[in-house]
Structure formats: C-alpha cells, structure tokens
Amino acid sequence: MADSRFVGQNIFGTQSTSRSKNRYPPWRYIVSLLVVVVAGLYALPNLFPPDYAIQIQTDNKKNSAGEPFNIGSGFIGQVVETIESNDVSVKAQEQIGEGALIRFHSEIERDQAKLLLEDWLNPEGQDRQFVVALNLADTTPKWVQSIGGRPMTLGLDLAGGIHFVLQVDMDTAIKNQMTDESEKVLDRLRAARIRYLPGQDVVTGQSITISFADAEVRDRAMSTLSEHYGLPDYELAKTQTLENPAVRLSITTARIKEMEDLAIEQNLEGLRNRVNELNVSEPLVQRLGRNRIVVDLPGVQDSSEAKRILDKFATLEFRLAAKPGDRPSELERFEYRGRMVEIQKEIIVEGKNVINATPGRDEHGLPQVNFTLDRPGGDRMHDVTKDNVDHDMAILFIEQKPIVTSEMVDGVRVESTRIEEERRLISVANIDSALSYNSRITGLSVRESKDLALFLRAGALAAPMYFVEERTVGASLGEENIQRGFTAVVIGFLLVLAFMLVYYKVFGFVANVALTLNLIIVIAVMSSIGATLTLPGIAGMVLTVGMAVDANVLIFSRIREELKVSKPWVAIPAGYDRAFRTILDANLTTLFVALILLFLGSGPIAGFAVTLSIGIVTSMFTAIFVSRGIVHLIYGRPNVEKVWI
C-alpha cells in the first residue's frame, strides 16, 4: 500500500493527488467559509429571546361612521400613555397590519399591562371592543429579517395549545346526494312513462338500483336515463336484481373526490375565517390528506370553548325583493352597495339546498356565477321564479360570529362567548327566466363573481365534519418539554464532544468544529424553511449529533489505517478519499429511510424525519468539506511527521 498512488475522485469532481503536491483547492475554503457565515446568519434569530408582548386588534369597536375602528398611531400612543401612567414601562410599540403590538421588558410588566388594558379597552358587561392577546414578539434585528431570517416556530408540544383534526363525513354526504338523485331519477322515469317496480328501496351505498318488470322496459329506462347521466360523474349499467332486470346508477370515484374536495374547501374557508376571529397568534388551518383538516391553535387552552366556536359558520337565504303591495310587516331592509333594499321575509331556498357554486364565464365571455341546487331547492326555486320573471331576487348571507363579553366575577375578569348572527346582502339580481336546479347570476365583475361564489359555497351546507383527533398541551407541559429537550441536546452534545476529543485528539477537535457547525446549519435550515420544531424534532436533532459523528469516524479510522503504512501527507487525503464512497452509500440509504418517514408519517414522525433528513445532508457536507479543510490547514504541509489522531 505504501508505494501506490492515491487518486481520489469525489462528488465535487476535483481530484486530489497526494504525495508531492498536496493541495486543497482554495474555492473549497471559500465555500466552507460562505456556508459558515450564511448558516450563522440564519441561525442567529434563534439566539434573540423574544419580547413579552401584547397584541391589540379591533373586535366590535366602531368608529363614528359605524365602521370597524382602525387602529392607528394615535390610538397606539394613547395605549402606551395609559400603560405608562400606571408605572409600567413599555419597551417598544408598533403597528402590525390592522393591529398594535406593544413590547415589554418583562413578563410581569406585560401581565400587569394586560390587566390594565382589559379594564380600559373592554368595559365589563359590554361586547368586547378589542381583542387583547398575549404574545411573544420576535426580536430578530431588522437587517437579519430583511434577508429572511426568523427564529424556528415552536410546535404545539413545546408552545402549548390545541391541535384538532376534523374529518369530512363523506358517507353521509354521499348518501344524501344519492337519495336526492334517486328522487330525480324516479321523476324522470315517471315523466317518460316508464314503469318501475313499486316499493323498492333504491339507494344502497354509492349506487341506485331500480328494477323493472321486463328487459324491454329496462332498456327504455336505460336510454332515457343515459340522456341525463353519464361519465365523468355517474356510471349507468344494466344489472339484475333477484328476479328482475334492473338499471344501476352509481356515482364515480372521480365525482366523490370532487365532492370531497368541495367539502374540504368549503370547510377550510369557514374554519380560516373562524380561526382568524379567535385571534390566535400564528394559527394553522390546513388540509390533511384526502378528507381531513388540521387546525392548530397555539396558546389556546380551553378546548371545549374552541370547539364550540369552530362549529358552525354561515348560511344563505334566497328571497324575493319587495313587490308593490307587500305589507311592511312582511319586509326587511338591508343595505346593498350603498343603498337600502327591501326584501321579503319569506325564504325561497336556504344554504343547505345549495350544492355547489363556481365562478365562470357566459357565452360572451362575461363573468358569472353558476350555482347548483338540490332537488327540493331546485323545485321550489322553479315554482317561485316562474311567476316572478323580471323581478329582483336577493341572496342574504348569514354569518355566525362569536362575540366575547367580559364581566367581573369575585374580582376576576371572566370572558364569555356567545354566537351572534350577522346578516348582509351579497347579491340582488334580476330574474331573467324561470330558474331551476342549475342557475347562474350574471352582470358581475370578475372579482365579484369570485367573491359571490365564495360566499355561496361558504353558506352552503358542507358535508358535515366531525372531530377525529384532538390534542391539548398545557402551557406548563410545553415549557417543561422545551427545558427537557434543550437539556438533552446540551448533554448529548457535550458528551460527544468530550469523547471525540479524548479519542481522536487533534482530529477530534476538528470533528467537534464540524459537529458544532453541523448543528448550526441544521438550525439555520430549519429556521429559514419555516419548519416547526417539535419534541420529536429535538430528538431528531440529538440523534443527528450522534450520527453526524459517523462520517468523521469513518474518515479518521481510515486515516489511522493508512498511517500504519504511509506518511501523513499521503495518509490523510487517502483517508478522506477512500472513506467518501462509504459515507455516500451509508448516508444515502439512511436518507431514503428518513424521506420515507417524512412522506408517510404525520405529526411526531414527520417532525423527527425533517430534522433527521436535514441533519444527514449537512453532516456529509461538514465532514467532507469543512473538516477536511481544517485538517489540511493543520497538517497540510509536506514535512509533517507526527499526527495526533
């Protein structure tokens, strides 16, 4: 081995030939240094402890014109003045979006200020005027923020809060849809004078089966129905019940998926609006897989209250505009685009009758909204509109808004929530012709058509959702978890550093530098991609520390072997080069496993997999790139005889 020449070729394409010329390309130092600086920058925000802060947002406070009160610098100034006149010092204040953020020097001062502000802003017994929420404010310097630097977000298991998973009840939704459809089918058969066998229960699961006396009648039914039903939504097939020829109409999986998507979208919209009103800092409302929605509410503790608020959102009412001769007691007045519109109290169709609404274009390319009603809704709509052509019809949007009030009970401020209806007109349009199951509203701008479709969908009865998972983590447990996680990282890290130093001496020191850098890069990557840090994530980080050692160990044991037969300036590059293939193989396969975890896992598994995957990639970089550079700096000269390894 001593007299062979080592030509290492590695992933970066450069060859390092050792013996006489033992050079380490300068660009590698530059890249290493660059990575150190960039990683340091992006990891930096995590070092700044956040400020204790209070966030103020308008709830029911109106300005003199009756519009929602706008928080401005004048108002913020008053708030700060009020706090400081009570001997609580304010660190800083700023306007963020439509709210105010007041920062304090300590948690005690913040909590004092919160009590003061509650009393001052929200007089007891009244509807809540402002939402006064406790918050932790980021203290990352502006220049770091300007390059996208931000601290890692803490998961619910660390920050405390509630995690909900809701699932669309598709079975019920499909059953309703099919029951509805079956009546339409029977109607059509009756209209075409095709006799089906009476008294049958036609709906089973996802299909409708109708039997006939003989095959000839069945074939006629088939051809009649095929005019109305077909792919991609329905499948029509001939079949046989016990004794009779029959027709089976089944809903396709494509259509079910469409219904699911619609239901999810509708519920997402509703939930987002609701969660925003809860005014939680950094809430998360997200689709999960095919038919579920995740709602994360950091900092919230009362799950029964949260569930109540998330329960019901909005509905719709289609009503006729006032007609001459209507008695005032039969009418209601609503504002619509700056004017008052009188509409009848009688409801034609409700939100639960609306199946779908989409923005689209008419034959002239003008924006419109298409909406679909269910059978009873469509029938009723037809009956009413056929007698009222050229008359106006209005759509009333009724939203259930949570209203918070507070009162003093035994000297403690207690907040309670009630649900209040807010009603407003979202459309007043002329009836061109008799409407039916499928109708459209024209004469809108593109924006209006989108908004209106959104409202119609939000007010329609979505497939019901139910809670399938709920996890509440108390604030104190969250803090304990952070503490424990942090301690584990520190202890584990120190143990490894000490061991490496003792076992590999100078090289151990180099490995430790690489390991430290590795941890910084992992934190930097997680911060900059906005990954959430969870307890399993911390475990992943700890494990990464243990495993990141491996690449270094592989290299060092190779170097030790090579040193038995060759001089240091030969052995060191040889060790690096020959270990490279092994490191690549070993890490790639581990990365596979981590990625599988990431894609198939959810919750704790995903949190763990994210840190593990990032750690594997960065540890390869630091071991091969950085540690080699440092070793070269120390032992790069050709006259080195003794190596401390």
């Binding site: 061991f499 700890v542 596979f592």
Partner: protein
Amino acid sequence: MNIDFMSKRVYALSASAVLFVASVVSLVVMNLEWGLDFTGGVLVEIGFDEAKDPGEVRVLVQEAGYQNAIVQNIGSERDIVIRVPPVEGVDQSVVGDEIYAMLAQNYSGTELLKSDYVGPAVGEDLTQQGALALLVALLLVMVYIMFRFTGKFALGAVFALVHDIVIVAGVFSIMRWTFDLPELAALLAVIGYSLNDTIVVSDRIRENFRAVKRGTSMDVINYSLNQTLGRTLVTSLTTLLVLLALLIAGGEQLFGFAIALTIGVIVGTYSSIYVAASSLLLLGIKSQELALPEKEGATATRS
C-alpha cells in the same frame, strides 16, 4: 486487533435465533401494548398541587360514567394520567373536556397538562401508514443495495434489518412498554441506523474481496470486520451517548422513543457484524461475483 468473528457465528446466530423466536412468540401471543395513537381513545394528564392517590381519582372518574378508565400516576405523585379506551360507536371527542372539568370542580389547584383524543379512524390510518412505511423502507433499501452491491448483500442487509426490528418490537412486547407514534419513528430510525452500519461493513467486505485474492471468504470477511470494528464501536458509542442524554433528560414524553433507539442501536451494531456478514457466508459469497467491471476501473479509488 484480530478477532475471529466468523468462527463463532454458530453461537451468535443461535443467540439471535433464540431472541428472534422469543420476540415473534411474544408479539404473536401478547401483541404490542399499542398506545393511544393506534388504538384511539382518550388520554388526559392532570397536574395537582399536592400528591394525589390514583385510587381516589379513579372512583370519581368511574362515578362520572367512565367505568373502564385507567387511572395512574405519571412522572411524579402529583401528576395523574387517565386513559379511557375507545368505545364502539361513541363519540369520545368531549370525554377529555368532561373529565378535566369534573376534576377541576372537585379539586382546587388542578392544571390540564395534556389531553389527547384520537378517533378510531385515525388510529386505523396510522397503523396502515406505519406498516406501509416499514415495508416501503425495507423494499427501497433492498433495491438500492442490490443496485450498489449485489443481491446477496441486499438479502444479508434485509435479514439484519428484519432481525433488528423484530427484536426491538419484541422487547417492547415482553416489557409491556407502550408502543406509540414516536416509538414507530424510532423503529424506522433503527432501520436507518442499522443499515448505515451494515453498509459500512459490506463496503469494506466488497473492497477486500476485490483486493485480497488469497484466503477463504471467511478470512476476508473476518479481516473486513476487524478493520471496521473500531469505527462501528465508536459510532455506536457516540450514538448511545446522545441517547443516554435523551433517556436522562428527555422525560416521560421521549422515554419510549429513546429506549427503542437504544435497543435498536445495540442490536443493530451486533447484527451488522453477525447477521449481515454471516448471511453472506451462508449465501456462499465468492470474490468472483464482486470483480470490478472494466468500465468502473477508471474511477476506482486504487489505480
């Protein structure tokens, strides 16, 4: 250092076989102590301001209508965990709220530490996802090794992986430790870890088969194992060090995860030596199988 690993493989493999069979028997007979994530149900952790007798709380919980609730201390004497198993056809999403509200009424100074509800549908999905993840991981690993090494290496690696997973799960089954999502993550991480070890060893075996033309397959494997032994031990040791930190400082929440990995690392280190390498012998590996194709010669590390 020159340890004759392979001559002792009969003993090692017998030991492995005993452990493996014991694990399988335990898994079949007693199954795993599946946690809430997989079974569904309700778990509430409540902190009291003084030591609390679980028996006393149990009476209250049972009077509130949860007859089959399990009430225990957790972590300290002041913390109580209440588990309510899933009930067919009953919506349990409010059970946690109800139990906490009831206890808060009966005792002052209670604090809700944690409340979990997992519906049966979620549990079923997680079980399927977990099984799928395990299978996909094993399959992909096998394909990758087949591509990078040979079929025999792939088989040896998969033997080792299955060996590790079954034994870790077996220990959980025998010890009646709760097996939840974090433990599943640990099990998958064990695959990654053990694989890492196996590949390093295999890599060296392949290299030596190509370089050392003399000697029996057994000699070559022994030689390779000795060469990699230092690295194998150091890496396992550092990983065990950080796991020790997790076990000491991580608390209740991470205990299962850390212990699963600890067992996995120990078994995985052993299996990369004995299971993966002995399988190669068992499968009759020959140096000719690993001869370098001409084309690759140019990029090999040795010229």
